[in-house]
């Protein structure tokens, strides 16, 4: 592997730190770090028992067991005078995967017979999920995920290559790192930002253009995202054709020599991701009293839906070939029905209100046009109609003495996230795990510890008030209450934002917390408790088990805690946990996790974890343990080689996990992993 070679080269160089390389009168700073992560998956217990009435097997539920993976990220940064260079190379290797013979044996063992169609589905899933074949039966990918050249002086900040960007509070554009949920999206193209300050006035303008660049390796699931081969992304993963044996429909058992029993056919490769173009600008004017901003973004999706329909309608057309030549994703969702989206917003920021607060308001508009073509026929082209929406978000913070208040309000109508152009369908070429990818993120105001209220941008109004009170320096209490009316939680496809009472849900979102710390700061006791109560505006029968209509949509409660106690000398003990309980449509479940750690500062932590769930179809209990090591100095070469090491052994449940309000479902894991971070 190239990464391994580069890594070995670095080790061989004996490099001991961020390096200053003399260049003329100046020096170039070189910063290299590498994260390597090796794991092995055992049976993660997500395969349900075979249904005797309808015996069938799910390829993914078997393919995610009994294999190993190795992920590596090499990051290089160089800085010289006002210039910078950044390169990130990502690689993934999957080994001991189920091969053809193994698949046949597994199907025979489970079903008691051969099943060529099922065997092919296993092969298709394997190929689309785990990348290209490598020697020794392994699969994987290596590619330059981020590369950029930058120049920055007092007035100008220019980037060619990958850059992060957010306009306003992310309503109309937000591409950034949210690594914990596997998101690290940039725009690859060009960005120029100029700014000038004089006599208390400041002007800033930004222009940019390029194509969105999500990470092509989904670290939580190992799914490889295959693009369409855009020239902007040389070396990025692309799909490869899939060849398989299929039964020959012309074969006859009575005359076996006339036709072969099986045919070797090749399915044309299709991408799971189409690279979206973007162009936009920002202009900001500010003084010490206020700041005004104007933002505009135009997203150009390539959907190929019209070309695909034309191709398909040709006499004798091969639909599979049409899909390969003009990939058009079927399961696009309401946020992916238009190929041109224009977002505009205006912002007002007041950084200080008489020294006791600050305020922010953003008003955004969205126009979606070039709707997906659903058919081309005698009556002409049938497209999704244009859609226009808007969003208003406001935030006021007030502080006085030990009291602080945070007020947020939002009013969103037909305002959709910039969903990435992902094929959310199944195998052989879909990538449903990446369905959450979006290039914008709206402020939501509700709790960030559980999932947002359904389809949160489409049709919702509401707000939240939070109050913090510092009883003393070591004691704080806080609480919030939010109230929301949504017309898209019950029906996420309500893209026209019909405000029919039958579609409305009313939510109370509330929580309270307490933070206590010891005077020396070495021990702490933090706790949160929250609840969400959502009612239907019109009582409804939500499932067949209900005998009477109910106005209760769901009830959810959760508790979080974070406790740390200094014991003696370098020893401390800590415990963290999160537990939630939910009732919806007559079904109730509880899930959560608890971790207990003994810390020997500064180098070691020994951690024991326990997870539980009562969700239907999942094992109830999960146990795990981990050892974390960190180098306490950088005096020796091996401290840099293994700046931190983490070993994890055990089970984790499949669960929704939220980071700062961004939520995704993580698959179950059972096995062992070791991660080594090196910094040179």
């Amino acid at each position: 592997m190239g990464v391994a070679a580069a890594f070995a080269g670095l080790l061989g160089s004996g490099s001991a730190r961020a390096i200053d390389v003399p260049l003329g009168n100046e020096s170039m700073t070189l910063d290299v770090s590498n994260t390597s992560d090796l794991g092995y998956h055992f049976d993660n217990r997500n395969t349900p028992p075979l249904d005797p009435a309808n015996p069938t097997l799910s390829p993914l539920q078997r393919l995610d067991d009994d294999y190993g993976d190795w992920f590596d990220r090499l990051q290089v940064r160089a800085f010289y005078k006002k210039f910078s260079f950044a390169l990130r190379v990502d690689s993934a290797v999957f080994f001991n995967l189920l091969d053809r013979e193994g698949t046949q044996a597994y199907i025979r063992e489970k079903l008691g017979r051969d099943d060529l169609a099922l065997e092919n589905r296993f092969g298709e899933e394997l190929q689309s999920h785990f990348g290209q074949p490598l020697p020794g039966g392994a699969r994987g990918v290596i590619y330059p995920s981020k590369i950029s050249f930058g120049y920055k002086n007092e007035f100008l900040d220019a980037t060619l290559g990958d850059f992060y960007l957010q306009l306003g509070r992310g309503l109309i554009l937000s591409v950034r790192k949210i690594d914990e949920v596997g998101i690290d999206t940039t725009i690859r193209g060009a960005k120029v930002r100029v700014s000038k300050s004089q006599a208390g006035h400041r002007v800033e303008a930004t222009g940019f253009a390029g194509q969105f660049n999500p990470i092509r390796i989904d670290y939580p699931t190992g799914r490889i995202l295959n693009g369409s081969g855009s020239l902007v992304f040389p070396g990025s993963p692309t799909p490869s054709d899939f060849s398989e044996w299929v039964p020959n429909p012309k074969y006859s058992a009575s005359s076996p020599g006339a036709e072969p029993e099986f045919l070797f056919v090749t399915k044309r490769a299709k991408p799971s991701y189409l690279e979206d173009g973007v162009v936009g600008a920002n202009f900001t004017y500010g003084t010490r009293l206020f700041e005004l901003g104007l933002n505009g973004v135009s997203v150009l999706r390539q959907s190929n839906s019209a070309e695909f329909e034309l191709c398909k309608n040709r006499p004798g057309a091969d639909v599979d070939a049409c899909q390969a030549s003009y990939p058009a994703f079927g399961q696009v969702g309401a946020a992916r029905l238009h190929d041109q989206i224009r977002n505009l917003s205006a912002t007002v920021n007041v950084p200080s209100i008489a020294g006791v607060g600050d305020a922010y308001v953003e008003v955004a508009a969205q126009h979606q046009t070039q709707g997906r073509v659903s058919s081309i026929g005698p009556n002409g082209i049938v497209r999704e109609p244009d859609l226009t929406g808007y969003a208003v978000y406001a935030n006021l913070n007030l502080h006085q003495g030990p009291l602080a208040a945070t007020l947020e309000g939002k009013h969103y109508r037909r305002f959709f996230p910039l969903a990435a152009n992902i094929d959310a369908g199944g195998p052989p070429f879909g990538a449903p795990e990446l369905n959450l990818l979006a290039y914008s993120l709206s402020p939501r105001a509700e709790s960030i510890y559980t999932e947002p209220i359904g389809a949160p941008d489409v049709c919702i109004s509401g707000g939240r008030a939070r109050l913090d009170y510092a009883v003393a320096r070591e004691r704080k209490v806080y609480g919030w209450v939010g109230r929301f009316a949504s017309w898209s939680e019950l029906d996420p496809t309500n893209s026209e934002c019909k405000t029919d009472p039958a579609l409305r849900t009313d939510t109370w979102d509330t929580a309270a917390g307490l933070e206590l710390s010891s005077r020396d700061g070495n021990s702490h006791y933090w706790g949160w408790i929250g609840a969400r109560l959502t009612d239907l505006a019109v009582p409804t029968l939500l499932n067949t088990e209900q005998t009477e209509p109910s106005d209760v949509f769901y009830r959810e409660g959760y508790i979080r805690y974070d406790l740390g106690q200094h014991l003696k000398g370098p020893f401390s003990i800590s415990m963290v946990g999160f537990h939630r309980h939910r009732t919806q449509a007559l079904k109730t479940w509880t899930e959560g996790e608890n971790l207990l750690a003994l810390n020997y500062n500064p180098s070691f932590s020994f951690i024991f974890g326990f997870e539980h769930t009562t969700r239907e179809g999942f094992p109830n209990t999960y146990f795990n343990g981990a050892i974390a090591y960190r180098a306490s100095s950088r005096a020796r070469w091996y401290h840099k080689l293994a700046e931190s090491v983490r070993l994890f052994v055990g089970q984790r449940r499949a669960a929704l996990r939220c980071v700062g309000g961004v939520c995704r479902v993580f698959p179950a894991f059972e096995g062992a992993r070791i991660e080594v971070v090196s910094r040179f």
Partner: protein, 195 residues
Amino acid sequence: MKTSILAMALATLVAACGEATPTATTADSVDATTSGAKAPDFDLKTLTGESISLSSLRGKVVLIDFWSTICDPCLKEMPELVRLYEERKDKGLVVLAIATDGPETVANVSTVAKERNMVFPVLLDTETSVLDRYNPEGRLPFTEVVDRQGNVVLKRSGYQPGDVESQKSLVAAIDAALGPSGAPPAATPAAAPAP
């Protein structure tokens, strides 16, 4: 914050901040004393609407701290940073607290800054572009100490309350950079902006 699959598996076990599940045990800290490397320049807006660039602070000792309101270890670390700053600000120490909150939580930054008594400049890196430049692994909290000449003299990631050794290293690096008298060298071009 970090990207790797192990972090996902370990989510709650070690203190990569803003994890999908509760955080706290911060087995993640690393003291990483470096020397000589120039700190890359950046330019960010403060909560009060001003712009601050690192290069404008040449001649000061700058402690750069990447944090976020959803990172529990970051919040636990804050009283120590406040104490460090208050004890050494007259000697030329500047603390820049760079908040990496995204759209979901950036509204809370000013409240948290006030209630944690963050009397130093709080900068907003909502794009995560400066975070990526300094700390591509994305771990929080992440601290760098930059000397008066603009060289990085210490890096530290993670925070564990009661980690005396790590704290000693941080204090020693700051004091060494400030010098015995705390007096800046003769050619000090800039002063720290008001918080």
